[in-house]
């Protein structure tokens, strides 16, 4: 990378850092480093350069410390580049937004963003929309009914504890949880919440009722919904990836089908307890 390229990369990174602080309000050095894929020292140098340029970035030390923009400073550096305009079509998850009761607002925002694009950028955005379409719902069957989704979204917005009636394995249970966020994964909605300070995920289609309680939710410092969901997903998948040997009693008529499903080699058969069964 020559000096000019380096300066372009750095300038782009500093704008991203600035916009990130503007959107988030405050972010730690490690968060920014992860977002920008650089070291914390590089973040520190970029912040110093922004301060030298007159941008009021303040830093605070300590566990809850980080960087923030002072005095409600807002940059006007919101010009959308061509490549960014091309990516705008991927904001088009109108279905899930509709489920959350945000359909009209998303459409309003989409119209305003598109209206703000210059001719070429608007053309690029339009070309993407003509060529790519996102349908996050899996094949076969309609999306699961989620009658309590908007109530849960309301609780998430208001940061209020809820009492859920939740059905799992055919049994109903009541839980008081602190909702932190909602996640749409493979067409299904999940509530990420804290129960007794432990992270829990609940499939929204299994929630039968929601009662909004008065207790406020104290969101954990530095909570990141996407990271939390990714960790929950990894845990589940790791758990599911454990290979297992299962001892089965199989009716003779089902053996050919079982062999098609899994490689069954040289299995030892014990005397069947019932006629036509192998164990």
């Amino acid at each position: 990378m020559n000096l000019s390229e380096y300066e372009n990369v750095r300038a782009s990174r500093m704008v991203t850092l600035l916009l990130h602080l503007q959107v988030r309000g405050q972010a730690s050095g490690s968060e920014l480093a992860r977002q920008l894929e650089v070291s914390e020292r590089t973040v520190q140098r970029d912040v110093e350069a922004l301060v030298a340029a007159g941008v009021p970035v303040r830093s605070t030390r300590g566990p809850a410390g980080g960087y923030r923009l002072d005095g409600g400073y807002r940059t006007r550096l919101t010009g959308v580049g061509l490549d960014e305009a091309g990516a705008l079509a991927f904001l088009g998850l109108a279905g899930p937004a509709e489920q959350l009761g945000l359909g009209d607002m998303l459409e309003g925002a989409r119209i305003k963003v598109w209206a703000s694009l210059t001719g070429e950028a608007r053309q690029r955005a339009g070309r993407t929309a003509e060529r790519f379409h996102l349908d996050p719902v899996r094949w076969y069957g309609t999306p699961e009914p989620v009658p309590c989704l908007t109530q849960l979204a309301d609780a998430v917005w208001r940061d209020r504890r809820v009492r859920l009636e939740y059905v799992r394995d055919g049994r109903a249970a009541t839980r008081e949880v602190d909702p932190l966020g909602l996640v749409l994964a493979a067409g299904d909605w999940y509530l990420v919440a804290l129960r007794d300070q432990q992270r829990r995920t609940y499939r929204v289609s299994r929630v039968r009722s929601v009662e909004l309680l008065d207790e406020p939710v104290v969101r954990p410092a530095q909570f990141d919904l996407a990271e939390t969901w990714a960790a929950a997903r990894r845990e589940l998948e790791d758990e599911e990836q454990t290979s297992v040997e299962v001892t089965l009693r199989v009716a003779a008529r089902a053996l050919p089908r079982l062999r098609r499903l899994v490689p069954v080699h040289g299995q030892a058969r014990s005397p069947s307890r019932r006629r036509g069964r192998s164990r």
């Binding site: 297992v244 299962v246 001892t247 899994v262 069954v264 030892a268």
Partner: protein
């Protein structure tokens, strides 16, 4: 017979697809998991079986 599965999710799916023709004898955790799934599915039809 003892059948190896690559992961538990696949094991449960395959076993359930064979319906009443298969019974899990062990391990106990897998037997419990399949039983829970079957009970959950049966609960959907409990009203039907009562003739309501």
């Amino acid at each position: 017979m003892t059948v190896p599965f690559d992961n538990e999710f696949w094991a449960v799916s395959a076993i359930l697809s064979l319906g009443a023709a298969v019974e899990v004898l062990g391990p106990a955790s897998m037997r419990q998991r399949v039983a829970d799934e079957v009970r959950g599915a049966a609960a959907h039809y409990a009203v039907d079986s009562q003739g309501l």
